[in-house]
Each structure stands twice: as C-alpha cells, then as structure tokens.
C-alpha cells in the first residue's frame, strides 16, 4: 500500500468513526403502544449519558406497565445509538419519526445534538423533551413550540452555584468550559452572575471536548491565584481534569466548582473528589418521600444509585405520561397545550412547565462531594436548596432578574 492509500483510508476511517454503531434494541410491540424514541448516545465517549436515559426508561416501563400503561395503552421505547454525534442524532431521530412513527423524542445526550434535533421538530411535528441538555439557547434564541426542557439548564445550574458562592468567602474565580454550546453558555452565565455578586473572574479558557491532558490549563489556573475554578466539563473530561488537578496538588489550592457534580465523576475519581462543590440537576440524596422510594426501586432494578440524568429522565417520562393521560390523547398539538402551564410533583420538589419557553421551573441545588460510609463512592451532600423562581431565567432568555 502506498502513502496516498494510507491517507485516503485515514480519511474514510475518520468519517466511519463518526457514524457510530446502530442500536439494535427493540421491544416486542403490543396493541397500539405509545412510542417514545430515544436517539441516545449508547456507545462512544458519552455512552454514560445515553445509558442513564435508558436505565430511567427501563424503570419507568416497569412502573407504568404495573399501572396499566397510559390511556390504557402500553408504552414502548425505541432506542437508537447516536454515539454523541449531532449529524447522526438528526438522522436517527428522523428515522424514528418517519419510519417508526414516534411522536415523542427524548434521551438525547449532548446539547450539540439537541440543538440540531430541536431545529427539525417543527417540521416533523413531534415533541422533543429534553431531560439532559443544558445549553441555555434551547429555551432562548433557539426555542420552538415543540421543545420542552424538564431538566435544570446550564444557566440554571450556574445560577444556583453563583447564589451559593455569593455568600461565601471565595473572591477570585477561574472559569473552564468545554468548547461547545453547553460549556460556553455555562461559563458566560456564571461570569455574569458572579460579577454581579461583586466577585472577580481572573481567567477563562475553553479546552476542546475530549481533552486528555489538562496540564497546561492547570498551570494557568495555578498562576491565576484563583480561590476556586468553575468547571463546565462533560462527564469524562471532568473526571480527567479532577484526577490530574489532584495529582498536581491543585485541588487543595483552588477549589473545584462543578457546573454538574455527577456520580459518574465521583465513582471514577474516588476520594480525590471529596470537597468539590457544584450544582446538581438531581442529587439522589434529596430527602423527600417520593425520592426515597424512587432511589430504592432504582437500586432494586439496576443495583446502583441513580445519577443526575437517571432522576431527571425518569421525572420527564412520568410527567409526560401524566400530561398524555390528562389530555386524553397522544395528539402532539393537544399534548403541548395540556403540558403548558401544568404542574408536577417531581422527585426533588414541585415542577411547573411555563408556557412562554417550555422551561420547567424547579428547585436548584448547591452540593458538595462527601464520603459517607453507607455508600461505596462519594455522594452529593446538599449545601443549599433554592426555589424554582430564584434559579429559573427570565422567559426565553439566559438572564436572571
């Protein structure tokens, strides 16, 4: 083989790698089921998010089947693997809509995928329910009527942790966000809010998604003499950052403040993570009767404790089922009308779906990673809870009053 062949093949292989592996997970069909499409990242580096959505769907299926389904019809999930790639996500979503006839899409992992799929939903006339995606734009300038966000957004997470930090002793912050929609959005939001609280941002950087070595950024953060570093890094990137910062001895000098403090990170990083603070979309340690029961059922089925998107996805599915039941039909337009301005008792507190941008108003949490002998890994301890009105941005914006 000649060099030119090698280069051609390298290019072809690169394209191939982006296409990912087809998900072949189907369930047998019963009479006219309500179909929910999950074009989720089930393989590749973001598989942990897709798998969380799938785990939640599995528990939900079990629970809703025990209750006799929705409108007396069974609920069926159709999974497709996007491998975390926006173009693949659109293709798989389109397949689910046009070939399988789903009216509801959910379980999409990355904001970049969500922005691409959401833009198509008005044309397809299907509801896209986000339970994971953080990018503020999804309910602001990129919003459309077919998009609903049940989860806490990136700006909302940044808001919760900013409210917490505003009262704390730390004054100087470095912001490190992954170089894509969610990372940049969160850093922008954090910067605005922390500056408003009379604190200082002493440096900002946007490492590319999938960064393997944070040494250069760690050196800069140390030089900045910040008290804390705000991190909007997705799952694996955050794990690598925390591990390396620990080895450099940086975590003792500059406190890690995570936009999302995930169990995934705590399991992988272990004790080096203890002391990190951040916001949580859903901390499984919330002490409400509904949540205690959910955590137990989840643990019985899967043998582990629910992470943020296990909880958020379950809530989304439960809420959607209630809305369909109330609407008396799975007609998309009627479901949208019924969902708007409706309430739902979530696992961690009350939810309200506001009509103006379909962002669910819900409590926000500041949490800290702590060791607890009851659990095999560090767990989130709740430092502060903020009511929905305080942590939800003004309608169709990423700003807070």
């Amino acid at each position: 083989m000649r060099r030119r062949d090698f280069l051609t093949m390298a290019a072809v292989g690169g394209v191939g790698a982006g296409l990912g592996v087809p998900g072949l997970l189907r369930r047998a069909t019963a009479a006219t089921p309500i179909k929910i499409g999950m074009p989720a990242a089930l393989s590749g580096g973001y598989a942990q998010y897709g798998i969380q959505a799938k785990r939640a769907a599995e528990l939900f299926t079990k629970d809703i089947t025990a209750k006799g389904g929705v409108l007396g019809r069974p609920v069926e999930f159709l999974y497709e693997d996007t491998a975390g790639d926006p173009a693949t996500a659109v293709r798989k979503a389109q397949k689910l809509v046009e070939k399988d006839g789903v009216k509801f899409l959910t379980g999409i992992a990355l904001s970049s995928e969500a922005l691409a799929v959401s833009a198509k939903c008005p044309e397809w006339k299907v509801i896209f329910m986000s339970t994971i995606n953080g990018a503020g734009a999804l309910t602001a300038k990129a919003w459309n009527r077919y998009f609903f966000r049940v989860n806490t957004s990136g700006p909302m997470g940044a808001r919760a942790i900013s409210l917490y930090l505003a009262e704390g002793p730390m004054k100087r912050f470095f912001a490190l966000g992954s170089d894509y929609a969610w990372g940049r959005d969160s850093v922008a939001s954090f910067t605005t809010q922390i500056t408003a609280a009379k604190k200082e941002i002493v440096g900002t950087d946007y490492p590319p998604v999938g960064t393997k070595d944070f040494a250069s950024y760690i050196a800069k953060i140390r030089q900045s003499r910040a008290d804390g570093v705000y991190l909007a890094l997705p799952g694996q990137d955050a794990t690598i950052y925390l591990k390396q910062a620990h080895q450099f001895g940086l975590n003792r000098e500059v406190k890690p403040i995570m936009e999302i403090l995930e169990l995934e990170n705590m399991k992988a990083v272990g004790d080096a993570m203890v002391g990190a603070i951040g916001s949580s979309r859903y901390p499984f340690t919330v002490d409400t009767p509904r949540n205690r029961d959910f955590v137990k059922r989840f643990h019985d089925l899967h043998g582990l404790y629910p992470d943020m998107f296990d909880g958020e996805t379950y809530e989304g599915l439960e809420w959607l089922a209630q809305v369909i039941q109330k609407a008396g039909t799975d007609d998309v337009e009627k479901v949208i009308d019924t969902w708007e301005d409706s309430s739902y008792e979530g696992l961690e507190g009350p939810f309200f779906m506001r009509k103006c941008d379909h962002q669910a108003v819900q409590p926000g949490f500041a949490v800290e990673a702590v060791k607890d002998p009851k659990y095999p890994h560090p767990v989130p301890k709740i430092l502060a809870t903020y009511p929905g009105e305080k942590v939800t941005p003004k309608c169709r914006t990423e700003d807070f009053s």
């Binding site: 590749g44 070595d213 040494a215």
Partner: protein, 283 residues
C-alpha cells in the same frame, strides 16, 4: 517554562507508545491498523483489573503488555494474515470492525463508568522542583517513554531480530527468499505493537482513568504523529510525538483558542512540503 516542557514530554511519551506500534505495523505489514487505539484502551482497562486483583500497580506494567500482545498475535494469525494480498480497503474494514467489536466488548464487560487507577503510593502527589510543583507520576511517564523509546531503537538497530524486521520492512519478498520467516515476523511485530499500545494504556490510566472512547481519541493524534514523522520509521514516531506533544501543550497554554489547529497546521505543512514525513523515505 520547565513545567510546560515536562508536560510536553509526558504527552509525547504516551503518544510514542501508541504511534510506534502503529508505525511498525504499517512498516512491516503494510496495514493501517484502525484497531490500534482500542488496544491502548484495552491496556487501560486490563490495567484496572490487574491493579484490582493484585492490589499493586507494578504487575500491571508487565502483565498487561503480555496479555494485550498475546491477544494481538492471535488476532493477526486468525484474521489479518488472510487478507494481506487483498486490496487495502479490506484491511480498513477488518481493522475498523475489530475496533468496534473490541470497544463494545469492553463496554459490555466493564460498563459505561470510567475506571480510575491510583498510581503506586510513592508516585502519588507532587514533588518540588525549585518553585515548581510537579506530579511524581508524570515524571515516571516521561522516564518510561524515554526508556521504551531507547529500547525499541536499540532492538531494531543492534540485534539480529531487529535486522530481520528491518529487512522485511524494506523488501518482504527478498527477505523471504533469504530465509526470513516473514509470516512469523508479521505476527510477532503485530503482537509487539499491541503490547506497546497496551503499555501506553496502563501508563495513561492513572492520569486519565480508563474510559470508553479513549481509543478513538488517541488514534487520531497517533495518525498525526506518524504522518509528521514518516510511516514505518521509529525515529519519526519519536520526533512526531515530541512535535505533537509540544504543539498541544504550548498551544493550550499560549493560544488556547487555536490549540488543535496548530497540530493540524504542522501536519498540513508536512504534507505539502515533505509528504513522506520528516523521517520517512519518498516512494
């Protein structure tokens, strides 16, 4: 400055362990091995298992390369061997398929959560170098990269086996006529390349954890390294690793917005002005 230099050397050490094998396999087998990154990932995961079973880090540095290397020889002799004479597209499909199978196999076995490995106790924490605090473990990775690079180079240049390998690389038919067992050389070289990648995975795991997708991430960088350094050249892999390591490290420090661009710009320049790479030979 010293810190960034050490960072660049750490990254270069890991990149060398991966790209050396990629380059060797191309030199000897004339196959672009897309599965190479997965052997790196497999090394990291097996390192996790070995550390968990033995309770110590060092056994992993020995056991894992042996296991991954053995697996490599088995894969070569059961699959790749049969398609050397077919058009290159078959090799692409085969190695790409192998990569997907291995990666999904790892996901099914280990689950989606990353697996952390702790470095041995005396490599934990940071050491003071003047005003600088530098992690002991990273210094170990720099040393490991240098030692392995020297060992591979000496092996290829100074031993009889190395001579045979170089002969096969230069002209496999002629080497065959002269009595070299070409099929066996190919199998062993493929196994050795996989072992190096596995070693790289073990060495990387305490810094990055073992995670899904680490194979794809590293293979892209490794391809850039071999394109810059020249295919089939060990010296080229060393030079390429240093250049890519330096470009990424300094790029991220001084020009963070363009860190990735720098690496590809260097590669582009090489492709235009010296398409056979720094240490390769024109066809």
């Amino acid at each position: 400055m010293v810190e960034q230099l050490l960072n660049a050397l750490t990254l270069a050490g890991l990149l060398f362990l991966v790209s050396a094998g990629l380059s060797l396999v191309f030199g000897i087998l004339r196959v672009v091995n897309f599965a190479h990154g997965v052997f790196y990932m497999l090394g990291a995961y097996l390192g996790f298992t070995t550390v968990a079973l033995s309770g110590a880090f060092w056994p992993a540095l020995v056991v894992v390369p042996l296991v991954v290397g053995t697996l490599g020889t088995l894969i070569e002799s059961s699959t790749l061997r049969f398609i050397y004479r077919r058009p290159p597209l078959y090799q692409l499909l085969l190695t790409f398929g192998l990569a997907l199978i291995l990666e999904e196999g790892i996901r099914i076995l280990y689950g989606p959560t990353a697996k952390g490995i702790d470095p041995p106790a005396y490599l934990e924490g940071a050491v003071r170098l003047g005003s600088l605090q530098y992690p002991r473990y990273r210094l170990f990775v720099v040393a490991l990269g240098l030692v392995v690079a020297a060992a591979v180079w000496l092996f290829l240049r100074k031993t009889r086996a190395g001579l045979v390998i170089r002969a096969v690389a230069q002209n496999s038919e002629m080497a065959d006529c002269l009595g070299a067992d070409v099929a066996r050389v190919r199998t062993l070289v493929f196994g050795a390349a996989c072992a190096l990648a596995g070693l790289g995975g073990v060495a990387a795991a305490p810094m990055t954890t073992a995670y899904l997708g680490m194979g794809i991430g590293v293979i892209v960088d490794a391809f850039v390294v071999v394109v810059i350094g020249g295919l089939g050249s060990i010296g080229g892999s060393m030079a390429g690793s240093l250049i890519v390591g330096a470009a990424q490290t300094w790029g991220a420090f001084y020009l963070p917005e363009t860190a990735m661009v720098i690496m590809y710009a260097v590669m582009g320049a090489i492709l235009i002005f010296r398409p056979w790479g720094l240490f390769g030979e024109p066809e």
